[in-house]
Symmetry: C2
Subunit: 445 residues, 2 copies
């Protein structure tokens, strides 16, 4: 007997039609896709992608699938992995603050690979994306915080469900096979937080895109999986979380608007250090002082911030993305927080290292994960305060469409400005495209 | 700073040499390889393998790698997956009773794929296998029972470590890259027990063979992973088990003989129903009665048996492998327990279904997981008892070399008897082979 949550989810995915999307969802889905394609193009020349292609390229099948922002062609399973690495490696992709998942990388990475080698209309693509996003967000919310607190990087461990159902939807799986795809996703859910600060973090959404795609392929041909992947006594929720509420997976299926939960980052680093960066930038703007005037930086932050980002001694750019010390330092020293502030060179910049040594964070349960309390002590005796309830990019202060476009343009080096404009225009108009293939091709150098 | 357990394990793998193996280990390793190649050949024509090839074959890279017992050639990553499915799908492969892992499928599936496309000597192959086996067994023991009790199918979730280090050893990874391979294995560990009774169960060792192989490939090219994959606060042991003793991973590294912990199954089904089958077969041999004389079958079994195998209503052969009801029924009705007793046809055989309906198992904490207490009630009023402390194939009553050869011959249909003899001879002499490639080729139809 199948599990009722897994079965209801499978039934919803199979029944859903592009016409079910309202205008607000369509627009928010486009914003998410613009954000993720910008991130994939921005990360396409990262060493993590180069290494993955060097290591795995010769194992690729028929080389007919485009990889966003790369000249190599591979098979669509490998392309899913590579799109996932590039779109997450700068930690610049979207976040659902209700569960800290970066939902779009695993889903869209698989979808763009699938659409590169299969004819998919823009409306079907958008619909599949929304179903994948919803699936990730629902399972993420249903198992949060227990799953995350155990140490899972849920972007990987839960992202795989989204890739499976999104690709499965485009493949036209029936309900039984969709249930199998969900089962094969559940049994591939993986990714541990020990990898924060290393390339393996970006491998997580990549591998989950690839694993989800594979789940759909196997299900389509009649492979079998367990009947209760979400709710069984040995199902995903029990095995990986222990505490959960699976009603959240199916409540108001198709009637709520979960895309409204999504946020887009203004800074390419862990979301929980964003308030510190924003507050330090505001202090720089509001007061007259130079970096060398700063004697001490006192931070009060939510406990989760230190759980994730309490690393002062760092040598690699990717580590800098998870250092509350580096976050404060780069904003105070460089007065900006772009990709360049998270390079290996920036992390080893003596001015930034010196400032990191003056930062003292304290965990305080009364501070929200969205906010921060800062006191700067200056050499002339001044003490500057900033109390921030939430930072730019927060769900209460989202990036505008224009800011999303600027973010896209700012991070792309692998294609020229004119080509960027063309990609952005196609993404805003994706629901008018007869075939998404041309959009993927338009991202290639 | 790297974790000391992960680092010590990586250092051991890198330093170990074929000459470190003693004669007993070499012989036991050969027994394990004979057992697994027999299982892979026995499962090579299972629908699960056919489906996987149909679903994924077109995504395979350069088709230069042999798949045990199949005519198709694919790339070695896909071959690892397929070897893993075929060698586990009949649940006939080896088991370490200390942690219930089937250790050889994930390790050897990757190694045979690697050796099909790279020149590997027999002694290096054996050594890599033993290192992979040891790694799986040590991590399995260190996290047992918490990891398993959470619902992980540890053959998948822990098997991946063995594939990674075994392939990494043959690739000649240095210590830092071996540590990365362990990290990339840790972050791919997956596989939930909801899939017992479905094809996805055999997907677990297959996917872990493929994921471990991929971990080694990425590590070799300089991909980076977290520093404390086993012991970190967000490392594998904490995330997937919660309770563990990592000293077990490194205690007496290279000085104990863990291969002595391994066992080989006489019956193709879950290990915990073996005592019931053996006891029923003994009752048939010792007493004069016909199946239709059996009115009731009372079983007292360890609680784990009902946790895993308490399914009476079944329709598929793979489900039969995890039904204590079917186990008793097939032994009493058919007086044997070969592959044929676990086919879809056997499971739907009315005589077996009728006997299943007469079986009543009771969980009893005083009964060992190796044993069983049986009472048969016959229509003439007789009550037959059998109390079994352990069954054939148990670590205290292992299959002989001759029995392992017979098991190999009994299950293979995809190649002829002469060819089987050639494969078995090569396996017994694997440490004299200059190149294992010929051995893999010898398994092809």
């Amino acid at each position: 007997m199948s599990g009722r949550y897994s079965e209801a989810l499978a039934a919803h995915i199979v029944a859903s039609q592009p016409g079910d999307l309202n205008d607000a969802d369509r627009h928010e889905a486009k914003r998410a896709l613009i954000n993720i394609v910008g991130c994939a193009l921005g990360g396409a020349d990262h060493p993590a992608v180069d290494i993955a292609i060097r290591a795995l390229g010769s194992f690729a099948g028929a080389a007919d699938c485009a990889v966003i922002g790369r000249k190599e062609r591979v098979d669509p399973l490998l392309a899913s992995l590579l799109n996932g690495i590039s779109s997450h490696v700068h930690d610049f992709d979207d976040t659902t603050p209700s569960n800290y998942i970066h939902p779009t990388s695993p889903v869209a990475s698989a979808l763009f690979a699938y659409a590169s080698v299969n004819a998919v209309s823009g409306v079907d693509f958008l619909n599949a994306y929304v179903l994948g996003y919803e699936t990730v967000t629902r399972i993420g919310n249903a198992t949060y915080p227990a799953h995350y607190q155990r140490g899972w990087h849920s972007t990987g461990s839960i992202g795989v469900f989204g890739a499976a159902v999104a690709v499965g939807k485009l493949m036209g799986l029936d309900k039984a096979r969709m249930l199998t795809a969900i089962g094969l996703a559940a049994t591939q859910g993986a990714g541990i937080r020990d990898n924060f600060g290393a390339m393996a973090k970006s491998f997580h959404p990549g591998r989950s895109a690839q694993s989800g795609y594979m789940a759909a392929l196997l299900a389509a041909e009649g492979f079998t999986a367990g009947p209760r992947p979400l709710e069984g006594p040995r199902g995903f929720a029990e095995v990986t979380a222990g505490e959960y509420d699976l009603d959240i997976v199916t409540a108001d299926l198709g009637r709520d608007h979960l895309l409204g939960l999504n946020t887009y980052k203004p800074f390419p680093c862990g979301i929980v250090v964003h308030p510190t960066i924003d507050a330090c930038l505001q202090l720089r703007a509001e007061h007259d002082f130079a970096p060398e005037d700063v004697v001490a930086v006192q931070l009060r932050v939510a406990p989760l911030v230190l759980d994730l980002c309490n690393q002062r001694e760092i040598t690699r750019g990717l580590e800098g993305k998870f250092s509350i010390y580096h976050a404060a330092a780069l904003a105070l020293v460089r007065n900006r927080a772009s990709l360049a502030e998270f390079s290996d060179a920036a992390v080893t910049d003596p001015a930034l290292a010196a400032m990191r040594s003056r930062v003292t964070p304290v965990a305080d349960g009364s501070v929200s994960e969205d906010g921060v309390e800062i006191e700067l002590v200056l050499s002339d005796g001044r003490r500057l305060h900033k109390s921030l309830e939430f930072s730019v990019g927060n769900i209460r202060k989202p990036l505008s469409d224009q800011q999303l476009e600027s973010k896209f343009r700012d991070q792309v080096r692998v294609i020229g400005e004119q080509q960027v404009t063309g990609v952005i225009e196609r993404l805003w108009a994706i629901d008018t495209l007869e075939n998404v293939q041309g959009l993927v091709e338009a991202t290639l150098p």
